[in-house]
Symmetry: C2
Subunit: 364 residues, 2 copies
């Protein structure tokens, strides 16, 4: 589905759900946490963001084996105001910690109009869009940010200082489907680069730089101290803006919560040593919810939002393009298709999952 | 200062302040509003963003002459919750309406931890960074977004649907100066294009497209139905992300407040007809303030923020670059220099100001 030529195996959502939940249960998660973690993780596969779904399950298991993930976390609020909170994730799965924090944001928004929760001591939380979308059913706008281990060089730098630090914003509409933006603050997400690596293809100019900071098309440059480039690619095309956006995500997620930031964010691969002299705890997220009717009636807002979506979707297109897309359109089409027809996994991903299962006597 | 070869005249801040304030007073603004509008407008000249300062004064006057700006607005809150408000700008100068709304956000944050204000029925508000920075003295993070008249084509479109819709975020630090990001959500701000137009130079590939949606280096393409490109320039380099960011700014500023959005935003040049069938009132802004100690103590935050800034500023550089910049560094250097040495204006800008003065019997 993602352009790979490799053999694929198709699994139903229910099958992958049951398998994945059993893995989390075997790690020692409670039934509630295993359900939440599975729902969060699989939302990536369902929405076509293959790099962030079950393909990462073995990575989470290895972090647990390395005792960097706590399967029985005591997730709690450690500081709060009427519209804010800081949540300590107790080294839990970000897949569980972030939905807890988003629920706190939603509860705050019910009372105070908006809710904003910064999270410390967490781990990778799957796709940002899932957490932002939790707000939609409450007629709220949802936001989700997270930092991640450093792969991105600021403008003018050779050093990796920021993660791909995504921003997700979900906005409810009326008769139209919601607006759901979910984007890395880099020119290209790391998942897209991984696809090129597997196929031994070159990367477009503007995605990455080599160890000296020169533009390169070598998709493997990150293995040799290269770096991903911030959205904008180079100074002339606004890379200082992508760098600033990634920095804002880092500050809101980690400086505001007391998590690790910049080059000190814990790495996802369990074999990579932890950075030295870490200033905070775990990695950080930032979740937000704004109740629409804290601004105007939800009906009036949704009427205008439908009009916004319809006007943009009908904008005149460049020859050769069928229509202008609304953020969230491609992922929604994946969701419709995959819930019906199943989720295709690359052969290597299915093998990797089967090996994870063997650790716990579970068959895929 | 901005690379133009044209003759420049240098004015002291005090001189330009007095002249500009007198123009606003002559338009009928109250003394308080004239002071606020002047402070806001000149913050652009002081910070080196020449396109948004006194160079625009004649444009504001023409909007007032066309009765699109109300010099005596009754700016008020029309909807609120503990952490939110919607402000009606009563067609006032955005230079006055936005600081009012930002003060509401700050007051809300004092009580509820955060404050978020969406604004309808306003006009252009100068530089976004000024409003965001109002939060700093209160140990708060400030945010300011605004929509603007449509110059930007979404990915795959030939139509101008969004303004350059900036995002500003100001974050206090301790011994270090604050982090202040202030960026258009386009690859290049329109002001940069205007400099090339005046000098008859070509634009870099990736800044603009022509009427058919083809990449062009003709800096005058916007006069022939061309469009600015979203941050990212093209799909392969993430223009759908710049388009999504500009859309989020539009939705927060205008769909949440009941202002005009997308192609319906009122134009800045008074001679351009208003778009037909406008769905809302005036243009929209979105202002936010988050009290640091609603998350953790300001001291702990500032200590980490200083560490963040120092670590990024000392990141290894690419050969030929002296250091990695922190967002806000270039504007702060301009401010230090211009408050001491004066503000250089292009000959054409000084002439334009002198003509504005003549309308009101004021000499520059």
């Amino acid at each position: 589905m993602n352009g790979d030529q490799q053999a694929e195996q198709v699994f139903s959502y229910q099958h992958l759900f049951s398998f994945t939940k059993n893995v989390f249960l075997a790690m020692g998660c409670s039934d509630e946490h295993a359900t939440t973690a599975t729902t969060t993780l699989l939302s990536a596969d369902v929405r076509g963001i293959d790099s962030h779904g079950v393909a990462r399950l073995s990575g989470y298991v290895r972090l647990w084996e390395a005792k960097r993930i706590n399967a029985k976390p005591d997730i709690k609020i450690i500081h709060e105001s009427p519209s804010t909170a800081v949540v300590d994730g107790d080294s839990g799965l970000g897949l569980v910690v972030a939905p807890f924090a988003m629920q706190v944001a939603i509860n705050k928004a019910k009372q105070a109009g908006t809710g904003w929760v910064s999270v410390q001591n967490s781990n990778h939380f799957g796709i940002a869009g899932y957490h932002a979308m939790m707000a939609l059913q409450h007629d709220m706008i949802g936001m989700a940010l997270t930092n991640a281990s450093a792969l991105v060089a600021p403008t003018f730098s050779t050093e990796r200082m920021l993660g791909t630090n995504p921003i997700a914003v979900a906005v409810p509409a009326g008769s139209e489907p919601p607006f759901v933006a979910d984007m890395a603050t880099t020119t290209a997400a790391n998942g897209k680069l991984e696809i090129l690596q597997r196929k031994n293809l070159e990367a477009p100019v503007g995605w990455i730089q080599d160890a000296a900071g020169n533009s390169t098309t070598d998709a493997h440059a990150l293995k040799n101290k290269g770096a991903l480039l911030p959205l904008g690619s180079d100074k002339e095309h606004g890379s200082h803006k992508g760098y600033a956006l990634g920095s804002i995500v880092d500050i809101f997620s980690a400086v505001l919560s007391g998590a690790n930031y910049g080059p000190w964010v814990p790495p996802f691969p369990a074999y990579v040593p932890m950075p030295e002299n870490q200033p905070g705890k775990g990695l950080g997220h930032f979740l937000g919810a704004m109740r629409i009717d804290a601004f105007r009636t939800a009906d009036a807002f949704k009427k205008d939002m439908d009009n916004w979506i319809q006007r943009f979707r009908s904008a005149k297109t460049i020859d050769g393009y069928e229509k202008v897309l609304i953020p969230g359109d491609p992922e929604r089409l994946f969701e419709e298709q995959r819930m019906k027809e199943g989720i295709p996994l690359l052969g290597t991903v299915a093998e990797d999952l089967a090996k994870v299962g063997q650790k716990f006597n579970l068959s895929l």
